[in-house]
């Protein structure tokens, strides 16, 4: 690139940035939307630490066996409450019908009904899947101990996890900032098409410049805005919501890698389209799909193994893996290396093809 092209690129980039920063909707897309989404999701799911599950116990059999099991569970509750704060609370409920009623109105999350000879029935509600899972596993556990005839369960000590578990606010900050990047960085290809349509592109080209420098300038501006948005989400979730993202140097590298990868993909998508409107819808469709595959909307606790494998093929998923490593494992830059390489490769491959496509699509 010669001095003239570089000059044109920076001129386009600064003007483009000025225009974006002046537009309210660009500000929403780059800063407010990812922040808002991160805070809502983060608050919604960070709460899990304090969750208490109320499980009802029904002694339906009236036998010594069933009474014994019921007592044992209630006393287990008393023991457990000493070491773990209010995680599972067992409540004795008078009858099966009453238990159903209480599950329905939300007093308890699930119930275990013990029959005279130790038959176990678990009552659950499909709209409370987590309580259902807790109730079910306790039910099986009781069934198991009755079957083995063990009066005391095999000793199972509990060791603390140690370290710092994944910070949900930081996780959603990275995930939502990544999702919205499709919209901010995607403006480069879109802006090219708009300039073609309103003749500012021909006007620029009538001067001593070429399509390549103009497009590079727009990509530079869009990437800068995207990275700024990411940084704002990082700073605000950290300062105001106590998010812990991990080592700053790692976070900065990851932001650059993510912007490169998602920017490349959105440039590619934009290059395939013919009008600014098409570009915008296609970018949002692909953005949502990749974010979804990348696990952006799924709580990290619930991500099934298949989705985790699939997510490596999405720039959002790759990016989230890196941010999770920083966040939960305090990973250093060396640990991030493979992820960063993956992201940059994503960016180079798709971005390179996207640049060519985009140049072609604005041919006059």
């Amino acid at each position: 690139m010669n001095a003239l092209s570089a000059h044109a690129m920076f001129t386009v980039a600064t003007t483009e940035l000025r225009r974006r920063l002046r537009s309210r909707s660009a500000l929403v897309t780059a800063f407010l939307a990812p922040l808002g989404l991160a805070v809502v999701f983060g608050t919604m799911l960070s709460n899990t630490e304090a969750s208490t599950f109320d499980i009802g116990i029904v002694d339906a059999g009236g036998s010594a066996l069933s009474a014994g099991v019921t007592d044992e569970l209630v006393s287990f509750d008393e023991q457990a409450s000493d070491e773990q704060e209010g995680s599972i609370v067992f409540t004795v409920v008078g009858s099966e019908a009453l238990a159903e009623e209480q599950i329905d109105d939300g007093t308890i999350g699930a119930a275990i009904v013990v029959g005279a000879t130790g038959e176990i029935l678990v009552l659950k509600s499909p709209d409370r899947p987590i309580s259902a899972q807790v109730g079910e596993s306790i039910g099986y556990s009781i069934g198991g101990s009755l079957q083995t005839g063990l009066t005391e369960p095999t000793p199972l000590a509990t060791a603390p996890l140690g370290g710092r578990p994944l910070n949900v606010m930081a996780y959603y900050g990275a995930s939502m900032a990544g999702l919205l990047l499709f919209f901010t960085v995607g403006t480069a290809a879109r802006s090219m098409l708009e300039d073609r349509d309103n003749s500012t592109l021909p006007r620029m080209l009538s001067g001593p410049t070429n399509v390549g420098s103009i497009l590079s300038g727009k990509v530079l501006a869009a990437a800068t805005l995207g990275a700024l948005g990411f940084v704002v989400v990082w700073i605000i979730t950290t300062a105001a919501f106590g998010a812990t993202w991990g080592s700053p140097a790692g976070v900065i590298l990851m932001i650059i890698g993510t912007v490169a990868a998602i920017g490349g993909v959105s440039l590619f998508i934009g290059g395939l389209t013919r009008t600014p409107q098409q570009a915008e819808s296609a970018q949002s469709v692909v953005g949502f799909m990749l974010a979804l595959i990348g696990g952006a909307f799924v709580p990290p606790t619930d991500t099934p193994a298949t989705l985790r494998t699939l997510s490596r093929f999405s720039p959002n998923g790759l990016s989230l893996q890196g941010f999770s490593a920083l966040n939960a494992d305090n990973a250093g830059i060396r640990d991030l290396f493979p992820t960063l390489v993956g992201l940059v490769v994503f960016g180079l491959v798709f971005g390179g093809v996207g640049l060519q496509l985009s140049k072609r699509s604005v041919q006059i």
Binding site: L4, H7, A8, T11, V12, T15, R18, R19, R22, S23, N198, S199, T200, P202, R203, M204, L205, S206, G207, P208, T209, N210, I364
Partner: protein
């Protein structure tokens, strides 16, 4: 003899099978306003894009100030100012910001850029509104701002592509005034339009373009005389049985070439309508009742009609 600013030789461009521009050759001299007149789709914008160096030609050559022009040949681009048909401005920026942006892209250095921005704002009369966003402007002001950007880097050739499309009559007049003024100031201008009255008012010479081919080039007078058009005096009235006598009477006048009898009266083909009008009416009035008179001077519309067999605004 004036020097040639633009020289176009054998220019041709195809889009697929469709010939957009076919073997165009013409030139524009320094200080001349050259009109390219043709209906929509005749190849005007394609020709302008090639002259502005945005679009490559299939064959032929374009030279501005003696230097070749093309998408990869930046040498002559500084001499060309393009004013596209659309408002090719960022409407979310102010006019001053737009000027600054395009000035930078033209590689103008800071001091010169600053000085020129003030000058062109003055020329188009937008100095008071220079710091308002373009989307707050009226249609006419947008058009003027659009022209200002084309003038910024002091080009020797200004390309105006249909600058009055969709503009109200008052703003249109303002635009025509400023183009006229630019022409008088020594700038060479190419002006494309499908309004013949604009070409008649502004252009020293006119090229008539249809289906990508240049049918005729010359001054309005030359073109008119080339197709043999004359002034016409249309007289409406009742001559009843005296029509033949009336026709005989006017035919004796000097400068009357022929007389046609129409359903509403008579039509006189004359060499100079205003010189002969009074005498013609005096000759006619004894033989009938003259109810109305209209003078029709030949114009580019008539030239176009005669060259293509179609009206300009079909």
């Amino acid at each position: 003899m004036s020097s040639t600013v633009l020289e176009v030789q054998g220019l041709a461009k195809k889009f697929g099978d469709r010939t957009a521009v076919n073997e165009l050759s013409f030139h524009v001299d320094a200080g001349e306003t050259f009109g390219l007149l043709g209906p929509n789709g005749s190849g005007k914008t394609t020709t302008m894009s090639m002259i502005a160096g945005i679009l490559g030609a299939d064959s032929g050559s374009i030279r501005v100030g003696g230097q070749p022009v093309g998408p990869t040949q930046h040498g002559a681009k500084g001499q060309i100012g393009l004013v596209p048909q659309d408002i090719a401005l960022y409407e979310d920026l102010t006019t001053r910001e737009n000027l600054d942006f395009f000035g930078r892209l033209q590689n103008m250095d800071g001091a010169r850029r600053k000085a020129r921005i003030e000058q062109v704002l003055e020329i188009v009369g937008l100095r008071d509104r220079a710091d308002d966003r373009v989307d707050e402007y009226s249609g006419g002001m947008k058009r003027r701002a659009n022209i200002a950007v084309g003038l910024l880097h002091e080009p020797s050739l200004l390309i105006l592509d249909e600058p009055t499309v969709g503009v109200d009559p008052q703003s249109r007049n303002q635009i025509l005034d400023s183009v006229e003024h630019l022409g008088q100031s020594g700038l060479s201008v190419i002006y494309t339009t499908h309004y013949m009255e604009e070409a008649e008012r502004l252009c020293d010479r006119v090229g008539i373009l249809d289906h990508g081919s240049l049918l005729a080039v010359g001054s309005q007078r030359e073109l008119v005389s080339r197709v043999g058009q004359e002034d016409r005096i249309v007289v409406s009235g009742v001559f009843t049985d005296q029509t033949e006598i009336a026709v005989g009477e006017v035919m004796t006048l000097d400068g009357v070439r022929s007389v046609d009898v129409t359903s509403v009266g008579l039509e006189l083909n004359v060499s100079d309508a205003s010189a002969i009008l009074v005498a013609a009416l005096a000759a006619l009035s004894p033989h009938g009742e003259v109810q109305g008179v209209e003078i029709r001077e030949p114009n580019l519309e008539a030239v176009f009609l005669s060259l293509t067999g179609r009206a300009l605004r079909d």
